[in-house]
């Protein structure tokens, strides 16, 4: 049995090696993600986005005058299957890959693409080290990494608000704790402000006045909170009750109308990060419209990011004038491209600049996008 599969693999390899020579006239775009199994809803919209973009590009004459050919691999978000899928795509001779979807599967596959010199762009893998570790210079993404929110909030506060002493609270959950941890990290890296308190609070507790007293005692001028809106509205209400004047900054778990309704006047002047409003972008509207008319449904998760990633990859090849690795990577880092998630280019580590989140401030009872 083993021998037969070895034989098959060898044959397969032999064929695939032969392919690039024969079909050098197409641009080969690999797409990998979960297209079956329970995580399929995260992978299929991005795959369809790639198909929509490729169809459109091919109708308009392709890239560098060559047609774009899709190579789709289903890896079910499973790291083991993902490495196989990556090996397969490499042997298919793809020039660039749009994928993978899950952070774990992406990490497993990235090494294989790196060795093969293939740029990879994920629409959804948000794990911070994927870009920040510097291990994968071939990796890019069109979604903000998990720590981007905290970083954005901290950078904004340091640049625009008078921040000297910061108290950080979180609700002990994965999401809130993560936001708080990254905020602490960003503050320590940036310097200039002192962290005077870092603690978890019990979600759902009757009141938080003791911890608010503690915040006052530390003399914090800024309170960063990682968590969701029910606790956030209690915190700001009790800060107002206890005459604590620290600036309240939180995450997109708080950027919710419930926060405004429940906290009322206490929410005034609070900051929260949240996803940018993209629906006014013409390209965004066009992409969503194309999805609706083709599939008769609303696009799901990561459709826009997948659309953007495919556009960015093909644009980079077009601008570079070649499929050569160095040229494509260089053009990803230097050339701006218009996508459904805005006009973007990528930084040295591979994160899309200006993608994802904005800082919002509560002014007269509504969230107003800053900057």
């Amino acid at each position: 049995m083993k021998k037969i599969s070895m034989l098959c693999a060898t044959l397969l390899l032999a064929f695939s090696v032969a392919v690039p020579g024969v079909a050098a006239d197409t641009i080969k775009l690999g797409v990998a993600g979960p297209h079956s199994g329970d995580l399929a809803p995260y992978g299929i919209p991005a795959m369809r986005a790639a198909q929509l973009v490729v169809n459109q590009v091919n109708e308009q004459g392709g890239v560098l005058g060559r047609q774009v050919e899709l190579f789709i691999q289903d890896e079910q978000c499973n790291p083991n299957v993902a490495t196989n899928a990556a090996t397969r795509l490499v042997s298919d001779g793809v020039h660039v890959v749009m994928g993978h979807i899950c952070s774990g599967a992406t990490r497993a596959a990235l090494g294989i693409y790196r060795e093969a010199g293939i740029p990879v762009m994920s629409p959804s893998a948000t794990n911070p080290p994927l870009t920040q570790s510097g291990e994968y210079p071939n990796f890019f993404r069109t979604i903000a990494s998990d720590d981007m929110q905290s970083k954005l909030a901290v950078d904004y506060a340091l640049a625009n608000l008078d921040v000297k002493k910061v108290a950080i609270l979180h609700d002990r959950g994965d999401y809130g704790r993560g936001f708080a941890d990254f905020a602490r990290q960003a503050l320590e890296e940036a310097g200039g402000a002192e962290i005077v308190l870092f603690e978890g609070i019990t979600p759902g507790a009757m009141d938080y006045s003791s911890i608010i007293q503690r915040v006052r005692r530390t003399g914090a001028d800024t309170l960063i909170y990682g968590g969701y809106h029910p606790e956030a509205s209690k915190l700001v209400t009790q800060m107002q009750r206890r005459r604590v004047n620290a600036t309240f900054i939180s995450d997109d778990g708080v950027k919710d109308d419930s926060f405004l309704n429940v906290a009322g006047s206490a929410a005034e002047g609070a900051y929260a990060t949240g996803p940018r409003d993209l629906s006014h972008l013409p390209l965004n509207q066009a992409a969503v419209q194309a999805y609706r008319s083709t599939y008769g449904a609303e696009p799901g998760a990561f459709f826009q990011e997948g659309y953007a990633a495919t556009l960015a990859l093909l644009n980079a090849i077009e601008k570079a004038g070649t499929t050569d690795y160095d040229a494509v990577v260089n053009s990803l880092r230097t050339e701006y491209v218009d996508t459904p998630v805005g006009r973007i280019k990528f930084d040295d580590k591979g994160d899309a600049e200006g993608v994802g989140f904005s800082v919002f401030k509560v002014v007269d009872g509504v969230f107003v996008e800053m900057n």
Binding site: L169, R172, E199, G200, I201, T202, G204, A205, M206, D207, S209, S210, I211, Q213, R214, R216, R217, H229, P230, S233, K234, T237, Q238, R241, R242, R243, V244, S258, N261, V262, A263, G264, A266
Partner: protein, 300 residues
């Protein structure tokens, strides 16, 4: 010193709310040895009724304190009706059966009431109007004790004085004490035990509702889920003070309120629950019936 006082009053406020709810647990337990797990839900229903009433009153332009008193009164009546019905529907039919059956019935009622409010009202958090206005004379010390805390403390104090009077000085109170000491003997001397039990549920529910209204207007929000955690904490308070003992419930509530407040203030809010429950364990090791609880000999 200021900081100590701030934490002291935070703990006192929180503790007196726990005490209000704990009284309902302890009174019911004292009479029929049932842990009424649906008690936290009565507290939540009290808060919801007050929200609806204050919504209506605001339309008619009443002032804050007037709305608060009216809302608390109507919430108390409603909660009393719920408490009464609860006992009739879920506990009285099980009076003669093993205690475990009644306990399961109590848990069932708790889940039912939570989900009933979830479906009938909303799964969202709702804003609760700030019915307690900030009084000007208290402004200099508002960071230590504000008007809402003051109102909560005074209301709790009045409620407890009234309760003590009711139990110690009235005929009904005498009947309640008799029923608590020995249910069948009380029946033999002509006390209508069923009425006494109903009354106990009604009194407990009224106090829970008052607690619910006070907390809701203090923290400014309600949801169908607020009864759960408050109920757990109040139940812990009742056990700590000695379940069945009325002064014990008040003492237990205050101890838990203070331990949470001082733990969060001086040590870390990460550990407030840890410290509270370690305290509970330690006290129960040395006084298994709670601080003021009496060890009852098992009746054969």
């Amino acid at each position: 010193m200021d900081y100590f006082l701030e934490l002291f009053f935070s703990g006192l406020t929180r503790g007196s709310i726990y005490a209000l709810i704990a009284l309902g647990y302890t009174m019911v337990y004292g009479i029929i040895q049932l842990i009424n797990f649906a008690h936290g839900e009565i507290y939540m229903i009290g808060a919801f009724v007050a929200l609806i009433v204050s919504g209506v009153c605001t339309i008619y332009g009443l002032s804050g304190f007037a709305i608060l008193i009216l809302a608390a009164a109507i919430a108390a009546v409603y909660a009393a009706a719920y408490g009464f019905t609860l006992e009739r529907v879920a506990y009285r039919p099980l009076r003669g059966s093993p205690r475990l059956s009644a306990l399961i019935s109590a848990i069932g009622m708790s889940i039912f009431l939570q989900n009933y409010v979830l479906l009938a009202q909303t799964p969202d958090f709702l804003p609760f109007p700030r019915l307690i206005p900030d009084l000007a004379f208290i402004e200099p010390v508002a960071h230590i004790i504000g008007t809402p805390e003051l109102v909560i403390l005074i209301t709790t104090l009045i409620t407890m004085v009234v309760l003590t009077f009711l139990i110690k000085k009235t005929r009904v109170g005498k009947a309640m004490r008799a029923t608590q000491q020995d249910l069948s003997m009380a029946r033999l001397v002509g006390i209508n035990v069923d009425n006494v039990i109903s009354l106990t549920f009604i009194i407990g529910s009224v106090m829970a509702a008052i607690g619910g209204v006070l907390v809701a207007s203090y923290i400014g929000q309600v949801s169908f889920y607020i009864g759960f955690l408050a109920g757990i904490k109040a139940f812990t308070a009742a056990v700590l003070g000695g379940i069945g003992s009325i002064p014990g419930a008040v003492l237990g509530g205050l101890i838990i309120g203070w331990s949470e407040s001082f733990a969060a203030g001086y040590i870390s809010s990460d550990y407030e629950d840890v410290i509270t429950f370690v305290l509970l364990v330690v006290i129960l090791i040395f006084r298994p019936a709670g601080i003021l609880g009496k060890v009852h000999k098992q009746k054969v």
